[in-house]
Every structure is written in C-alpha cells, then in structure tokens.
Amino acid sequence: MFENYVVDSGYDEMMRGADSPRDAYVRLHRTLADFSEPELHTRYRMAQSIFLRQGITFTVYHDERGTERPMPFDFIPKIIPAAEWEHIERGLVQRVKALNAFLEDVYNDQEILYEGVVPRDLIVTSEYFCPQVAHVAIPRRNHIFMSGIDLIRNETGEYHVLEDNLRNPSGMAYVYQNRYVMRKVFPEFFRDYSVRSLATYFTDLLSALQQLDPHERQNPTVVLLTPGMYNSAYFDHSFLAQQMGIELVEGRDLVVVDRVVYMKTSHGLQEVDVIYRRIDDAFLDPLEFRSDSLLGVPGLMDAYRAGNVAIANGLGNGVADDKAVYAYVPDMIRYYLGEQPILPNVPTYHLSNPEEREFVLSRLPELVVKQTDSSGGYNMLIGPQAQEMEIEHFRKRILGAPHKFVAQPTVQLSKVPTFVGGGMRGCHVDLRAFVIQGEHTTVFGGGLARVAMKDGSLIVNSSQGGGAKDTWVLVDG
C-alpha cells in the first residue's frame, strides 16, 4: 500500500520516510501490509454503507446538489501515544479551566477587563456578549460543560491550539461512530494495540451533566434540547440523547411555571433539573432574547436566574471563543491560574492594531486571514493558495472593517496517510478534542481527527467536505 507513498513537506504523523513508520504506527503498518488493495476497497465500502444506514450525514453548506451526505471517513487512524496524550490532556484541562474562569469574571466583576489584560471593548461589544446572564449564580460556576478544542501539529510535530469551541461543539457522536465502524470492519487493525476504550463515554457524559443539577438530587432529570430534525447536527443530538438515556426535547415540550422548568409528559408535568441544550443563545428564550424564536422556552432564562435549572453549555460563551479573543487565552491562563500555558497558541495578529495591520497587509500571500465572527472554515483567506484577485478582495474587506479580522502565519498542518483514489496519500489533519466539566475537568480519551481530503487542502471542517478519522489514544507506549 505504501510503495508509492510520498513523504514530502510537513510533519507526517505515521511515516518518517517512504518505508519507515514511526514507533506508534509500526504495528499498524505491518497489519496493513497483509491487505490487498481490492480487500481494502471492499472493507471501505462496507464501512461507508454502515455510516449511510445509520444516517450519519452532515450538512454541506453551499452545495446545490442537496444538503446532506454521508460523513467522509478514512480508516487509517490517528494514533496518539500515552505520553503525548498526557501532555495534551494537561494542556487542555488548563486551558478550559482558564476559559471558564474568564467567563465567570466577564459576567461578574470583569476584573481582567478593567485591569486591561483583555481589552474590555472587544468583549462587551461582541455580538455574543450576553448581559442577560450577568450576576447569575450558575450551578457549580460551570460555564463550559463541553468544549471542543481544535489542535494542530506544526512542521516539527509540536501541538498547538488552533481554536476553542465553547458554544455547541458538535462531533461527539462521530467519534463514537467512527470507533464502532472501525471495530466492526477493521478488527485486525486493533489486534496489536491497547487503545483507550470509549465504552464509558456516555455514562461519563451523563454523570457530568447530572453533577450540574442545582438541587443535587439522587436522580436528576436531564434533557437534551434540540432545535429539531432540520438542524444540521440533529444526528448528533438524537444519538447523544439515546446513548445517554435522556429525553430529546424541543422547546414546545418544555414549559416554565413559577420559575421552574417542566417537561410535558403523557402523565403530566415533570420537573427538569439539567438542560443540555443544542440551541443557540439567541433562540433559547423569546422573552429575553429574539422574540421571534419559536425554538426556545419562554421564561427559561428566568428559571435559570432563579437557580432552578442548569443549562449546559452556559449562555454567552461566544465572548470567549471568538477568533480575536483566542489570542488572549495564554494571558488568561497566566492571569487566573498563575501558570505558563502548556499548549501554545498559533501566533495571531490583530488587524485593529495599525502596526500589525500594516505588517499583515504587506504579507497577505503568506498568511491566513480569518474573520473573527465566522467559523467552519468560511470567510477565510489562505494566502499561499489564493489567487491575486481573492487577495485584493480580502485587502478591501480588511480595510473596510479591520477589527473584524485576525491573521496567522500559515501553519503547515501535519499529515496522516489517507486512502484516496485507490492509494495512500498524506492528507492534512487536525484534532478536535472534547473536554468535559462536571465536578471535575476531564478530556475524552479520543477525539475527532478531521482530515482535508481534497488534494493539498488545509480546510478540515466537515461542513466544507473534510472527513474524519478514528483517534486512538494508546494505553501504553
């Protein structure tokens, strides 16, 4: 399989050279050698059909052929040795703790803002700033029940944080499904490895949610609030609810009476203690947010304020995962925890700063420019891959609203061999790791390795045609 494999620029996570795998991949490399190409094809098709049958699809925006298609999948896993994972884990726990402290501060005394560590204007004028939650004593002071932190490795293999997703990170269900399919279709791959199991994945998730119950009941009622089946992440929602054994509800299934949230059931109203919501802030409660929202629950915010229900994730988290705020996360770690960041950021230039702007404008063909309030790989310029016209178009947009943009050096993302067009090709990957906070902060032993399957592409977002790989965290070695 690897006869024609090319190890070129960038860091290849599996292959040191054309025929020499790195330590963690030696056993997999050997197993793969036993497979013929037609056999791999057959297995690949089997895997795809399982995905399709289970309805694991993802909405691709700007796709005229239809909105849904199966999530592209690749069977070469991303393998993370135990020691490497331990480093990542410590770095992520540290980062999420600091981000949580930041949110608690922003919605209370704003000390970090008044001290000028993070520019106050950047936060309080953000469209995600949510005055409605100011001074609300939220259960366990927990703002970030689940976060998806995107990590990349640079030319030397060093991990960096690329992005924090603190609102409604999706992808948990895919992680589980990928593993399920891999185990079923490629059992031989696991033969020589001891991979961290995902078996307690959903019970852990559920107990973290239960720990948020403000009443600290024995057996709290937890529900998952979804916008409904037309949402692009509905698969994620229904799958998670089913696996955790909690009710999947829509806004119309809930009602607030005397500041308490109830679920309408066939035998009357049942009090709800914890809401894992997958609805955006603006649609949660038409009384206090968008009044035209039909998805939310009138009075929910007031029940939350009264301390009668936990909402995960918290509201207003968008002020902390904006691309402009990202640059300040290392400062937050130093400010709140008095520690040095374990996982570094990618250097980031703020285009609102005249000096940095001038520097960036003179180097557009080398840099990546991102719009601070966009996600999913949209509204970005990848200098080295852009046409002259595109660069000029972006230059105009930047000059029109410089504060809306940040720039970063183009990081040559690491590659993992990927089965495309009947052979192996090194494709760029990143890793979305999931951090869960209940009583404690923990990182799920795995994650969604996202792969850019288009030749040379650096965009791994599934909404733009990226695919997924299973992520193996090794128990030893």
Partner: protein, 288 residues
Amino acid sequence: MKYHILQVNQYQYAGGATESINQVRLRPYTGEGQACLDFTLDLQPQSKCAWHKDYFGNEVATFSIHAKHSQLTVTASADVDVWAEALPTETQLSDAMSGELTSTEFRRRYAEYLAATSYTALPPEAATAETDELWRASRDALDYVRRISDFLYTEFTYHAGVTTVETKAEEFLARKSGVCQDFTHLMLALCRVHQIPARYVSGYLYCGENTALRGDAAMHAWVEVMFPTLGWVGVDPTNHVFVGSRHIRVAVGRDYRDIVPIKGVYRGGAQTLETSVRVHALETAGLQ
C-alpha cells in the same frame, strides 16, 4: 421635587391568552439625584413577581399567568424624589477632561455605550454628513452634544403615530419626524459616532403647566452622555434641555431593547394595548 406617578397598561386579547410570561422595567431608579420612595406593581389577574437587577442596574420584575385570561392590567404606582440639577448651559470641558474622554482607557470603560446597535446604526457617510459641520464648529465634545440636541430639536418634528417602537435611527433621519424614542436613538448614534459614550434613558417627564414641553402623555425617553468628572449628563433632545428635576429616571441601557418597559410572550390571538401615564407633583417649590 417629589412626584407621584401612576401608569396603567391594559392589554386585551382577542380570544383570550394563556401561558403568558412578562417582564416589567417600571420601577424608578434610586441613586444619584433621585430616590424611589415607594413603588407598587399591581397585576390583574393577580400574579407573583420575581425581581432581579439587570446588567445595566435596572430593577426587573418577571411574572407569568398560565390560566386563560382575556385582559391583563399592569398598574405601576410610584413616589419619587428628584433633586438632580440640570447642567448649567455654559459648562465647558477642561483640556484634561477632553484628553481623558479620548483616552483608550475611558473608551474601554464605556465601550458598551460607544458601539452602534441595531437601533442606532447609521451608514458612516450619513453620520458624518450630518455632523461634520457641527463637530467642527463645537468648542468641545459637550458643546457638540448641545448642538446636536439643538439640531434635532429644530430640524426634526415631534409627531406621534408616524413611527413605531421598531423604528431605527436611520429611518428617523430620513423621515425627520417621530417621537422621543426616535430623537433619542438618533442622538445616541450621533454622539457615538464622535466617540462620546451615550446611553438610552426611559422615564417620565413632569410638564405641569408648561405646555411647551413634549412627552408627558406617555413614558418619555432621553439621552445620558458620559464625560470625565461630570459623570452621566442627561440631555433631552425632544425638548432640547439638559435634564434636571422634571425628568424622572426609570431605566437605562444601550438602546430601547435594554429598557423595554413591558414585554411579554403568550399563546393566543392579537392584543391591543391602552396606556395612561399621570405624573403628579407632590410639591412644586424649586422646580426649574
């Protein structure tokens, strides 16, 4: 000056309403220059209120009525003492004050009140075309605020019924007629364009025998601008005056959205609303 205020809001629902939940920002403010001595909020049908203080410092009551009802009456009654004095018209900013006004630290501290909102956003050309000349002619930022108030008062017409609570500053700028809410939003926009922190104030205006004043038949709205040393300075562009003891403050925010006096969500048919506001002076000595 002591006032008694009585505001009655009566909602009628065609075919009745159920699962109604509402938020009220009607309790007059207590703080610098003003104290709310007594306040009652009466609800028919009866309901229990839960109070909280919002991000901007306003007292908010939330209540719900689940059973079917065909009308809802919200009666707010308050006794308020106001001793705030209007800023002398000849007040000037010192160089130090002007310097602090333009400092990064000051701008960050009042950042909420410098950013455009959906109500106050104007196309940049429109904003500068309207204000460039006034800005250049102004001695300082406070003088500019005064000129803007004068400009709005003389060039725009107070006319009820041509705009709604949804009307944006940009539309008012083109139409040149509207009510106090529109004057206020446009004034906020024109102050913020020149980096003067400005916030929306809702409240009441005591007109008494002074028939030249506009705005006592309903709730009133005006602007507060923030200057170093002076603090929040009230300016009423609908009447072109600095705010003194005739203005009774209820709530403040970035724009109308933050101070909506009564808002609600319910199941049912269309609603109609009748509001009456009466402001009574309990004493008149010392009224400016």
